[in-house]
Symmetry: C2
Subunit: 195 residues, 2 copies
DNA sequence: TGACACTGAGACGGTTTATGTCTTAGTGTC
DNA sequence: GACACTAAGACATAAACCGTCTCAGTGTCA
């Protein structure tokens, strides 16, 4: 399996920031870890470290939602879709080793990427991936709002587990989702969603 | 329990070099980790990082042998003393978390401190602590030679375990020590060592 | 109160390290 | 032979770090 230079560099970026932290890693570190010259790195990622980390986060989000889609593809109802979505997302977050390492070694920056600075990107990517699944049940505006809410909730319950809900557990997640359904009450939309 | 500024700084040095590595840590990091201004750090450790790490290594060696002394104090014979010494040292090395972290994250520098650049210091401190225990059985020159040999052997068998000896096991350690006894044959010294 | 020791904060100049751009030469492909 | 891509490294700029120093604030003891 032959990796592209972009992927080699992004992989190296991930390893380097696990090891040295985001602030301390240098472009030289990443280039040599990737087995690539610094010139090549700047050609593929003009702008240096910032662009590099941005690209890494986007790629990881893409991978995250791509993996997720295979899990939630077979949902049979609107409720089932939402439950699967937050359960899968929660379990995937909990299983993410890189995220765990970054949370442990650089909590400030990592939390920022999950709760403040990074939220717009997360919402954007989540919307891109999930909207097609939700549109059978909701209009665009409702879809965007729902995804926004669910993404924030999933992150919050991942970062700070609650004694009331465990979004990694389908039963608990369902009891969390149900009140939301009445708010969005998809049965009042003009679409025939087939169930 | 009130720590002195020196101890706070050395503790911070240890934490920082576990986290960022010896090369990447800065004096500012250590100072702020210690909750101390940079001026104070330079006042207490003139010379900066090098002096700081040197002081840290000396302190850790002191603690190492101080802990050891309490374990080997009750030795009843020359052989018993030597066995206890290498067994205790070996077990203590194996239990040293900081050492494990440093070996994992910065093997080059750490191995250097155990096998090359750091050996003179280790031998010096070991000699200081252990000579008083050995002098009942050997003269000064023999003591120094024996401690030199045992320290190097302990380190070597710690870093690269052998299939022939396990210096953490008293029985195996005894079989390792015995041939040495005949070399140093303390029964030929002019001292009456009481056994 | 005043002398004294100690500290944090931060300014300073000098040095090292990192950055981003650029050129050159080498390699494989079509 | 034209083309795309790359490693290596020179280069000037920018940033970080270093070590020293000053100054003002704090607590202690006489």
């Amino acid at each position: 399996m032959m990796l592209s230079s972009e992927d080699k560099i992004l992989d190296a970026t991930r390893r380097c920031c696990e090891r040295w932290g985001i602030e301390r890693v240098t472009v030289d570190d990443i280039a040599s870890e990737a087995g690539v010259s610094r010139a090549t790195l700047y050609r593929l990622f003009p702008g240096g470290k910032d662009i590099l980390f941005e690209a890494l986060r986007v790629r990881e989000l893409d991978e995250f939602f791509t993996r997720m889609l295979t899990e939630i593809a077979g949902a049979e109802s609107f409720e089932d879709l939402l439950v699967r979505t937050i359960v899968t997302a929660t379990l995937e977050l909990r299983a993410d080793e890189h995220l765990a390492i970054m949370l442990a070694t650089e909590p400030g920056e990592t939390l920022g990427q999950l709760t403040a600075a990074g939220v717009p990107r997360i919402i954007r990517v989540a919307t891109t991936y999930l909207t097609p699944l939700v549109t059978p049940y909701l209009n665009d505006r409702q879809s965007a709002q729902l995804i926004d809410v669910l993404a924030r909730a999933t992150i919050s319950y991942f970062l700070a587990p609650s004694e009331h809900f465990d979004l990694g557990d389908p039963v608990s997640a369902r009891s969390f989702i149900r009140p939301l359904l009445s708010v969005f009450h998809p049965h009042t939309t003009s679409l025939n969603h087939g169930l």
